[in-house]
Amino acid sequence: MTDGDVFLLLGVGLAVLGTVRLVLTGDHLRRVVALNVAGSGVLMVLVAVAYRSNPEEPDSVLHALVLTGIVITVSVTGLALAMVRRVERDEQDRQASHE
């Protein structure tokens, strides 16, 4: 197992870990965190693949893809957080109005 393989596995692990947490938790905010971890795992798989293909000069295409992935992830995170906060606020307001 090469060092690339290690990171490849690590990426897979992170992706699975994040996904499992994402779908099983009941907390919106932690879902966002889990989503980011899972996303990072997937991106790590890409980077590891780039690294494995040629450790000296990793594939720059994959790096570009990962960059794109990061931007997309942050977009999603921003949107998700805005919505989470709004949902939780609405819940809170609803509870407040109930009491």
């Binding site: 996904t19 499992v20 994402l22 779908v23 099983l24 938790t25 009941g26």
Partner: protein, 590 residues
């Protein structure tokens, strides 16, 4: 000649249609138009009379597009009967008087329809037309039976229509078999039946089917109900012409003279003899003259059926029997028609100046029916006796048995006459036309039979005027009269039990066998209802059981809905997602 045919068919049909159409108009117009039509209605049967007179010379007519292809022809057998029908219906139509008869236009209409069917039966040369005409006649007769619309008329109608429809069906089934074997033309039918493998079935079906109309025991039950319920004019044609249609059915379709069917023949003869004799006591116990007359008809038709039965059993005697039957049919039709109409005439004229003539006429007709010497009945009975020859039934010589029918008839007619003479009479004076027409019938009846016997029907011999022959004809009548006198004497001396001395029709109600039959039908219906109730209860129990099961196990829809509600929770659907992912990947790897 085909023009005559067209006129003969269209005249009555058009009249009926006109009666119906005029009836739709405004009340005034309707009443006036209908009265006129009813007055002239008797003329509508005359073209058919011309056809009868023309006989075979009128030729056959083919109308290939009508129904399933129609062929009409006046043959030797049909000719006298057609004439009989024309006469009877003509007179009956005359007897329908607007203003006197209830709903005269309706009665006229039904009489005309009935005539079309009845005459059609006699002249139909193909089976479909025969059946068509038979049905038209049967249905129109229903209108005649229920015309008075009294409770008894409706009951009679009900019984009649049940039997009529049933008979239609037997006939239909029988005729289907006949036609399928190639007997589409009436002329071929007997041959075909004789050669058919299903001969037994066909004969059975036809005996049953036509037997209803012919009043064969035990299918006669409608007769004693229908005749008294119907207006006299209707009773006349019912008894005079329509019963003969059943006879014609037999004569046309049974393989008479082609093949010997002793079993069926004997059966028919036995039934016929039973009818001929049992009708006598049954009729004697009635309180209504028309019922007595009806039983007389049953008795007479029994006589006629004997001839058919003999013909069926003995091909060698068949030809003679058929001729005798036709002759007898004409005679009886006219005489009985005269008697039934006479009931009306008597009621109308019995107190008036025509009283003697009415009495004479009634007597003549009655004697004719009884077969008194010199009457038409004598001719017919003579012919019958000749044709039966040496045939026996259950070891009894028919030639010995048949004259006794005359005795029975005499008794019945005496009883009927007694009841009639003592019965009610109309207040209003009767009208002349009916009287005249009736007279024509009485006179014509006697003369015509003689005439026919001599000219149209090739009877081997007509009765001569020898004393033996006269005595042969006279003794049954005399015996009957004697018995009648004895009965009268006994009842006058109060030597008889009350039920026999003053029968009121309660001991043996009109329709005799009908009473137990009706009871049986009622019981069957009751049984059916009970079965129905039981089924419903079973269904209920089963349904409850089903509900029980349904209660215990959740329905699939509930299951899905509950499941889906679970999936709506994030974590549950998340877990499901993981499971699916794992499953798919595992399956893929494997």
């Amino acid at each position: 000649m085909s023009a005559l045919w067209v006129v003969a068919v269209l005249a009555p049909v058009t009249t009926v249609l006109l009666l119906a159409v005029v009836g739709l108009g405004p009340r005034e117009v309707s009443a006036r138009g209908r009265t006129t039509l009813v007055r002239w209605a008797p003329l509508a049967v005359l073209p058919a009379g011309l056809l009868a007179l023309a006989g075979p010379r009128a030729g056959a007519v083919d109308v290939p597009w009508l129904v399933l292809g129609t062929r009409l022809e006046v043959d030797e057998l049909g000719r006298p009967l057609l004439l009989l029908a024309v006469l009877l219906y003509g007179v009956a139509l005359v007897a329908v008087r607007p203003g006197r008869t209830t709903r005269a236009p309706v009665l006229s209409g039904f009489l005309l329809m009935s005539f079309v069917g009845n005459a059609g039966v006699f002249v139909a040369a193909d089976t479909v037309t025969f059946y068509l005409c038979f049905t038209v006649m049967s249905l129109a007769a229903y209108g005649l039976v229920v015309h008075e619309n009294t409770a008894s008329a409706r009951r009679a109608g009900r019984v009649y229509i049940v039997l009529a429809v049933a008979s239609e069906m037997f006939i239909l089934a029988g005729l289907l078999l006949v036609v399928q074997e190639g007997g589409l033309l009436v002329a071929d039918a007997a041959d075909v039946v004789a050669g058919s493998e299903a001969r037994g079935v066909i004969v059975l079906l036809l005996l049953l089917g036509f037997g209803v109309k012919a009043g064969t025991v035990p299918l006669h039950v409608w007769l004693p109900l229908a005749h008294p319920a119907a207006p006299p004019a209707a009773s006349a044609v019912l008894s005079g012409a329509m019963l003969k249609a059943g006879l014609v059915g037999w004569l046309r379709y049974l393989p008479l003279g082609e093949v010997a069917m002793p079993g069926w023949g004997a059966t028919l003869v036995v039934l016929a003899v039973l009818g001929a004799f049992l009708a006598v006591p049954a009729g004697l116990l009635q309180a209504d003259p028309k019922v007595a007359l009806a039983y007389s008809s049953i008795s007479q038709m029994g006589f006629l059926s004997v001839l058919v039965g003999v013909a069926l059993a003995r091909p060698d005697l068949a030809e003679a029997c058929v001729v005798a039957a036709v002759l007898y049919a004409v005679h009886h039709g006219l005489a009985k028609g005269a008697l039934f109409l006479g009931v009306g005439v008597w009621r109308a004229h019995g107190a008036g100046p025509a009283r003697p003539w009415v009495l004479v006429g009634l007597g003549v007709a009655a004697l004719a029916v009884a077969g008194a010497p010199l009457s038409s009945g004598a001719v017919a009975k003579y012919a019958a006796k000749q044709s039966v020859g040496s045939a026996t039934v259950l070891g009894v010589d028919l030639a010995l048995l048949l004259p006794l029918v005359g005795t029975g008839s005499t008794l019945l007619l005496a009883r009927g006459g007694w009841l009639l003479l003592r019965g009610r009479r109309d207040e209003r004076p009767g009208d002349l036309a009916t009287l005249v027409a009736w007279s024509v019938l009485v006179v014509g009846g006697i003369t015509l039979t003689w005439l026919l016997a001599g000219r149209w029907v090739p009877v081997e011999s007509v009765p001569g005027l020898e004393p033996v022959t006269l005595w042969d004809a006279a003794w049954p009548v005399l015996l009957g009269l004697g018995l009648a006198g004895l009965g009268w004497w006994l009842s006058a001396r109060e030597r008889l039990p009350a039920w026999a001395a003053h029968p009121d029709g309660r001991l043996l109600p009109p329709g005799d066998l009908l009473v137990p039959e009706e009871a049986m039908v009622r019981r069957l219906l009751h049984l059916e209802r009970r079965v129905e109730v039981a089924v419903a209860r079973a269904r209920q129990v089963l349904g409850r059981a089903g509900l029980f099961v349904a209660d215990r196990s959740p329905s699939p829809t509930t299951l899905a809905a509950t499941g889906d509600a679970g999936l709506a929770r994030w974590q549950v659907s998340g877990a499901v997602l993981l499971a699916v992912l794992l499953l798919v990947l595992a399956v893929g790897a494997w």
